[in-house]
């Protein structure tokens, strides 16, 4: 279009309203009287702010100045500091999980919670669980499957049921192992639960070298025996219970520690009640420890008495009359990742260039089965999201289907990542 034509059209189309024909702006002029009449701004006198005198009555003295949780919640931003709500979660009934359908959130009754607290919970899990008021868990397909397997192994020797839970980082191996421990406790099994096998081999507990060439950790053994006794007290006969307490009390030097552990395990076996030996971070038992020998070489777990005992039960060289051995790997601590265990469980290719020390190789048994824990299904994730929302953990005001899909997509159903996306990320 030529500019002349465009300009013509502009004026033509602009002149559609007769009242608008007057293109020229009406001139205005400021007359002198008008200027004179201009409003004089009133000077607003600002009153100098008087100091707020802090009265002595307002400041509470002494112990009264400790503010309660309620008052601090009210002062903080209510959008982010939400009070912990009282969420009612269904408790499992005595006698086992009694759960038929997966995708529901449960918690344990108080007596079982006390027992779990005696053993303790894996360190990473305890951090994550702090945002929830009570230890709650979601029943997954793996939980139901493993609970059935456990029930099936009640009358079989422990060497026949040796399972290791495997899977990618943060998928829920430790959580499911804890659920199995809870199931065993509720089913009146004798439970020996070690929440962190890394603590057995990382130098946390003192070690002593015996003349026989063995290394013993007396304090660790005493601690574990106390835990076993405290949790499983009602399973032992009164006499047995007494002898066990005597043994524990007498652990002062390493030799007595050795015999105490052996005798307690013997008593447990003889009671012929089903025994669950649950070990978390089991890969630490197949990697080098952080203890050193006198010639400054790192020790293998087989050199230490307690880890060796555990390895014997895992490999089937020793067994309980009735029961099972279930472990879970942990991929968080990189130095304790074990090529030997991964190769044995067919998780990696066997490489002729990677050496496995004979001490470790001795306890590797092809009969140990791996059980893969998969990511959350969409139903499980949705049920969990509802649970998180009820616990005021999610920052969203109005969670929608789309926001759930986004969280699921970004976390790919991985348990830890999903919790992170629900609780930390918007």
């Amino acid at each position: 279009m030529s500019s002349a034509r465009f300009r013509f059209l502009l004026n033509h189309k602009y002149l559609f309203d007769a009242k608008l024909i007057n293109i020229q702006r009406t001139s205005f002029s400021t007359t002198i009287p008008a200027l004179a009449k201009a409003q004089v701004k009133k000077e607003v006198k600002k009153k100098a702010p008087a100091f707020k005198q802090v009265r002595n009555e307002e400041k509470p003295k002494g112990k009264r100045s400790q503010s309660s949780n309620e008052s601090s919640v009210g002062k903080s931003n209510p959008k982010f500091y939400k009070p912990k709500p009282i969420v009612e979660v269904e408790e499992t009934k005595p006698g086992g999980l009694n759960v038929d359908v997966s995708g529901k959130v449960y918690t344990y009754p108080n007596d079982i919670m006390e027992k779990i607290n005696v053993f303790g919970v894996p360190p990473i899990m305890s951090k994550e669980m702090k945002i929830f008021p009570k230890l709650s868990w979601i029943a997954r397909d793996a939980t139901l499957d493993l609970a059935k397997k456990l029930d099936g192994s009640k009358n079989k020797p422990s060497a026949e049921t040796r399972i290791v839970l495997v899977g990618p980082l943060g998928v829920g191996k430790s959580s499911i192992l804890l659920q199995i421990v809870g199931h065993a406790l509720a089913s009146d099994w004798i439970v020996i639960y070690i929440p962190s096998a890394i603590d057995l081999v990382n130098g946390k507990y003192a070690y002593v070298k015996l003349s026989s060439g063995d290394y013993v950790q007396p304090t660790l053994i005493a601690k574990i025996l106390k835990q076993i006794h405290s949790v499983n007290r009602d399973k032992f006969a009164v006499q047995d219970s007494k002898t066990i307490t005597d043994l524990i009390d007498r652990i002062k030097d390493p030799n007595t520690a050795q015999t105490a552990l052996e005798q307690v395990l013997d008593k447990i076996d003889k009671s012929s009640m089903p025994v669950l030996l649950a070990i978390d971070e089991i890969n630490a038992l197949y990697a080098t420890t952080e203890f050193t020998s006198p010639d400054h070489t790192l020790l293998e777990p087989g050199n230490l008495f307690l880890p060796r005992t555990l390895l014997e039960y895992i490999s089937g060289q020793k067994k309980f009359r009735n029961g099972a051995v279930i472990g879970a790997t942990s991929l968080v601590h990189k130095p304790t990742l074990s090529y030997a265990l991964d190769a044995a469980l067919h998780l990696t290719e066997v490489s002729p260039w990677k050496q496995v020390s004979p001490e470790i190789a001795r306890y590797i048994n092809k009969e140990v089965k791996s059980y893969r824990i998969s990511e959350y299904s969409k139903n499980e994730a949705k049920a969990l999201l509802d649970f998180y929302i009820r616990n005021n953990v999610v920052h969203e005001d109005a969670p929608t289907d789309e926001s759930f899909t986004k969280k699921y997509m970004l976390s790919n159903g991985n348990a830890r990542k999903f919790l992170e996306y629900c609780s930390k990320r918007l």
Binding site: S3, K13, F16, I23, M409
Partner: protein, 299 residues
């Protein structure tokens, strides 16, 4: 040249309609009107003749527009026109602002139409007023605004994409698009699905460790509210995590446009359509890195 011939020439000039003469020119080209003149001049200048010339001499000629004395009368005329319309229709009902912006003629095109060269600031002022007028619900205003609209271009691009070799869905209803960012290239297959995203065969959460990288990949879906509606199969190479995630996002936007071209304004506003041309800056001589200088030494 005597005064007689000068007046004669002036009358001829004034008789032509389009010529505007300043009063100064008129006055300077004429001798002062006085009785002395009449006596001195020839007999052709009669009082009757002067009567006819009088209105031309005394009346001031006004310019045809009030913005004649500005440097850009056409531009200010347009602004005045638009302002007038806005104030005239200020009481009329107005529609809601939509997220889809109206497309006005571009600077180059509008400048050509007006016959003047518009600066960017001038153009943006015009567009501001056009946007205000666009909200008014009046047929006459809409008729007027048609002169400024760029409606034809959107259709062209859509057709262009549809007719291009790779701008269509294939036999399996997938779109194959390429996106680039920094040194990374991503080829992405986009197909209707449940929201499964795989990068080089691995799930999104496994491939990208950082949460922000995952979120940049997904951002086109979030912006267009199509999360969980498409499955993504991305093959990416080159660059690092940031580049690769940006390349995937770029490819996903292109794929979304093939599936649904109406999403373009939303994606453009989210700055996803443009290929991010930011690359690593080169090192310069005399400097330690692209911008970092060596330590300044006083002596």
């Amino acid at each position: 040249m005597n005064a007689h011939t000068r007046i004669h020439q002036l009358v001829l000039l004034i008789s032509k309609p389009n010529i505007i003469l300043s009063s100064r020119i008129i006055r300077s080209s004429l001798p002062p009107l006085s009785l002395k003149l009449f006596h001195r001049q020839s007999s052709t200048i009669t009082p009757a003749f002067l009567d006819t010339v009088q209105p031309f001499l005394q009346e001031r000629s006004k310019p045809h527009t009030s913005s004649y004395f500005t440097g850009k009368p056409a531009y200010y005329d347009l602004l005045i026109q638009l302002d007038d319309l806005i104030s005239k229709y200020s009481a009329f009902p107005k529609r809601q602002k939509s997220p889809l912006a109206t497309l006005w003629k571009l600077n180059a095109v509008l400048s050509q139409d007006l016959g003047i060269s518009l600066k960017t600031s001038q153009y943006s002022k015009i567009v501001q007023k056009l946007n205000k007028l666009d909200l008014i619900e009046a047929d006459e205003v809409k008729e007027y605004l048609k002169l400024f609209k760029r409606h034809y271009q959107l259709v062209d691009k859509r057709e262009e994409l549809a007719s291009s070799k790779h701008g269509q869905l294939d036999e399996y209803n997938r779109s194959l698009t390429v996106g680039r960012r920094k040194e990374a290239t991503a080829r992405v297959f986009l197909i209707k699905g449940a929201g499964d995203v795989r990068v080089n065969g691995r799930p999104l959460a496994d491939y990208f460790i950082e949460a922000k990288d995952r979120e940049t990949c997904i951002f086109p879906f979030v912006v267009t509210e199509t999360v969980g509606q498409y499955n993504v199969w991305a093959l990416v190479k080159g660059g690092g995590p940031t580049g690769q995630s940006g390349a995937i996002a770029h490819a996903i936007t292109k794929g979304l446009l093939i599936h649904n071209y109406d999403l373009k304004p939303i994606l453009r506003k989210a700055k996803l359509v443009t290929r991010d041309t930011r690359v690593v800056e080169r090192k310069k001589p005399g400097l330690a890195k692209a911008r970092k200088s060596y330590t300044w030494v006083k002596r």
